[in-house]
Symmetry: C2
Subunit: 597 residues, 2 copies
Amino acid sequence: MTYRAPVADLLFSMSHELGLAQGLEGGVYADLADGIAEATLLEAAKIAENVLAPLNRIGDRQGAKLTNEGVVTTPGWPQAYKQWADGGWNAITGPTHYGGLGLPALLNTACNEIWNAANMAFSLCPLLTLGAIEALQTHATAALKDLYLGRLVSGEWTGTMNLTEPQAGSDLSAIRTRAEPQPDGSFKLFGSKIFITYGDHDLTGNIIHFVLARLPDAPPGTRGISLFLVPKFLVNADGSLGPRNDVYCVSLEHKLGIHASPTCTMAYGEHGGALGWLIGEPNKGLVGMFIMMNNARLNVGVQGVAIADRAFQQALAYARERRQGRAFNAPGEAMSPIVQHPDVRRMLMTMKALTAAARAICLMTAHAIDVSRRDEDADRRLRAATRASLLTPIAKAFSTDIGVEAASLGIQIHGGMGFIEETGAAQLLRDSRIAPIYEGTNGIQAIDLVMRKVAHDKGDAAYREIREMKAVLGAIRETDAGAFGDLAPRLDDAVDSLERATAFLLENAKSSPDDVLAGAAPYLRLFALALGGIALARGALAAHRLIGAGDNDPALPARIATARFFAEHIAPGSAGLELSVTRGAASVNSADFALAG
Amino acid sequence: MTYRAPVADLLFSMSHELGLAQGLEGGVYADLADGIAEATLLEAAKIAENVLAPLNRIGDRQGAKLTNEGVVTTPGWPQAYKQWADGGWNAITGPTHYGGLGLPALLNTACNEIWNAANMAFSLCPLLTLGAIEALQTHATAALKDLYLGRLVSGEWTGTMNLTEPQAGSDLSAIRTRAEPQPDGSFKLFGSKIFITYGDHDLTGNIIHFVLARLPDAPPGTRGISLFLVPKFLVNADGSLGPRNDVYCVSLEHKLGIHASPTCTMAYGEHGGALGWLIGEPNKGLVGMFIMMNNARLNVGVQGVAIADRAFQQALAYARERRQGRAFNAPGEAMSPIVQHPDVRRMLMTMKALTAAARAICLMTAHAIDVSRRDEDADRRLRAATRASLLTPIAKAFSTDIGVEAASLGIQIHGGMGFIEETGAAQLLRDSRIAPIYEGTNGIQAIDLVMRKVAHDKGDAAYREIREMKAVLGAIRETDAGAFGDLAPRLDDAVDSLERATAFLLENAKSSPDDVLAGAAPYLRLFALALGGIALARGALAAHRLIGAGDNDPALPARIATARFFAEHIAPGSAGLELSVTRGAASVNSADFALAG
């Protein structure tokens, strides 16, 4: 089954679902004028469909291997990476001063969906490099930037994030890796890191590790963590490669999915110390790391969208081909393609609508990031930064959750064939399952949302979203279109539920944090249902307007149908989620697990 | 991580959640008096925990292999099977005339949960033998019974179901395997079957295949399908084994999970014809096959419960051990076990409550089967048969769906470790994913529920359930217990939603079958939420009474808490499901898939 990049869907979402005041090619997106976005996505589609997608299965079956010469990726991987990087795809958002194109995050987010749908295990590598680029750009000295940034931007080298240690997964305060200052201003690192994605590989000539460690005099906890740059090969002042540094991959994990992406245990300093350089200020390493994490969080969300869309495409192709039973309205006696059976349609529409909503949320987050960087007005930049910060945990958690749900539905639509590995549907479920876990588990995202993003500004940012949602609902109610079905009342209910749940959180965040935390995950889902449903409704409104203006693109009625399906079948979960948030804490927190099991 | 059979949970559910009028040891369960049920489950626990569970991992890693001598199972498997069958475990419900114990289906269902939780891939083999026993017992001639039944009951031989062909998966009308009558009254079979579980193996000296095929003069479609018994080795009149029959496993599938369970492509008659014997009447093979299927459907539902419980046990053990972060109410500075974090508690309670509800539904179905066979009153037997028939698709689909959900949550609770195969949580997700597919996909279960089980008797059976639910709600409202929280109003809502959705289905089943089918799956889920919620509430009522009577079993308050959690966090999904059923058909059936993908 071939992957087809959903270029039209991405462009429609970017143009019509995000509520861009001046359209895709105006305002902060002047550099997307003249169809730059479309042209870029069409080029991305080509390499994704023809180079990356065909390597996805072999990557699953012949995962990365650890050899005496380090980690070796799947056959074909290094060539594909070179072709991809040579195409300039790593450099879309990179700073122009260092060879990047400086294009919007929005465009790169759309490209990221395409890469990850074609081949998630492959695309993880540049995904992490992107985070590294931002951390360097924001926090490193000019000297370090000059030495490293250009080649990370071009993709000649890749970057990694080294946070996790066995005792320090979600809780970074427990990090023990230590960094000893050297007379020349560098540091020697000693310690061990686990779960390091692409910690070693043969795609590029050098790998730049970004490592959390403690200085000798560091205070305990998260206030004593510093961020270091540790190259695999030392880099001479002239940019040439020096000797091998003392950092090695010592083992690979045997994982459920993304087999082609090496998950490394890294040993630092087992042969005298790994040379590293401080990024940013001592003991303030988490600031730089959070820049990398935030970037990665959105992009991991995009992985959820990507897998969901790939699963949908594959399931739809199968459902149109496979004949079983006769649909009620089918003429003759022949078996019908299963796409004609209502329950299969329901599953397909569920996949499609969840994917579309999550895609809109991810693109919306990228848009907020762009405004926060590109708008000429400082107030608008600040507000957009707050918005991006609010939306990021929703984009990450909701999208990765629905990635797993869609992949599982994709298997179900294939029936028995879905359980057979050769079909490929099973790989999507296996690959998708990591995304709700890494870059901050979805539980952590939910905590971040309620405690930091909603409660810390007394709900300002959240209520701003709710007000915007209500404005869209007003426009929908004014548009009396039969094709909208129950879209308006169902989204009304969802937004009202979100508003009441938000009020509950704000009332209780200080006095009863445990009660608020008990409802954090349902609240995040509720927020996503309202946000995603409204984004699709915005698209439906635009489609309705375009049809009225004579546009006969046959995809437009389908976009209205998807928005309607989301509102009628998925958004109604809001009522239950509201109850979980507002009335459910006692039965979570009083549960007694002392005896069970 | 060791599996512990939940004997106390099973006994509590059997005693208190099913609404047994005369208690577990009265009425149709006279043979369970004197603690027979508990004693049996405790013995089952021993062999499950000590023999079957330890083989689960190796079975996953060293799955069954096809060799020149046929299929070879995982090392240790044949010895474990022999020990298990020698213990008499295959014979619990078997007819006493053929060496069975003739005990209730309820007891065997509880045992099945234990076997499948310990080792699902192993337990599939006897699960299918059970179906074969029932088909033989009901439809075969005395001669065939005498030759085969005893050794299937004892487990000396195993049975298989051979339905699926490449073109005939869910749609059995498309079956092409043919059976040619021989002068001696036997038949020669020719054809190919796929997805045959344990179609070949080395656990027993013979394998008895139950095969759907067409006679030469058979009418087309499902009215021309006959059922045949085809032994791997022919059986002489004295019971000794004769020559090898012409049926062979020609390949094994490479599957997502249950690696130790061989999924065979079977070739019949490639060397002259596979000798077979007709079971039941010509062209009425589906009757016998549905007996096997119905039995298997309940037991596949039980697999969902089993995996969910195993996943819960493993996740709970990890959550009590693993320390990350400090819980809000934790004293001191040390990291807290993650079981103290509200979001982890929420996930654990979700797993626990879903498992408990599905378990109650499966046991309730088994209870109805027992009443249909054992009650002295013919009317009650008939009503119970109708009830079993109504509940079976719910037990199958809901339980297998929550099996996947719980396994996925189990991975999430483990964080990064959950994605590592050695942890074992990933195997549970991989294994669980087949259960919503085989023995009739869950979509087919939903169609069966709405079109056959609910609509065909004008809702009589469904409304009887709803009336019983309301009676329990009445009792709950009379019991003013603070520990019940919002249990009563939330279950009230759920039952009301079910009642309205049922009325909608009955009004539209004939006139708009496509509208009804579009809501079939949400209706099944809605029915399960009400049914499961009420069963747990019945248990909560019993626990409340027992506590009031001075019983200080510390598990009793936990049972109330589980019922309350289900009502407060899971049952509220009913409102959305009702809307999907009653207002959602248009957006399912009007979806246009012609363009997408």
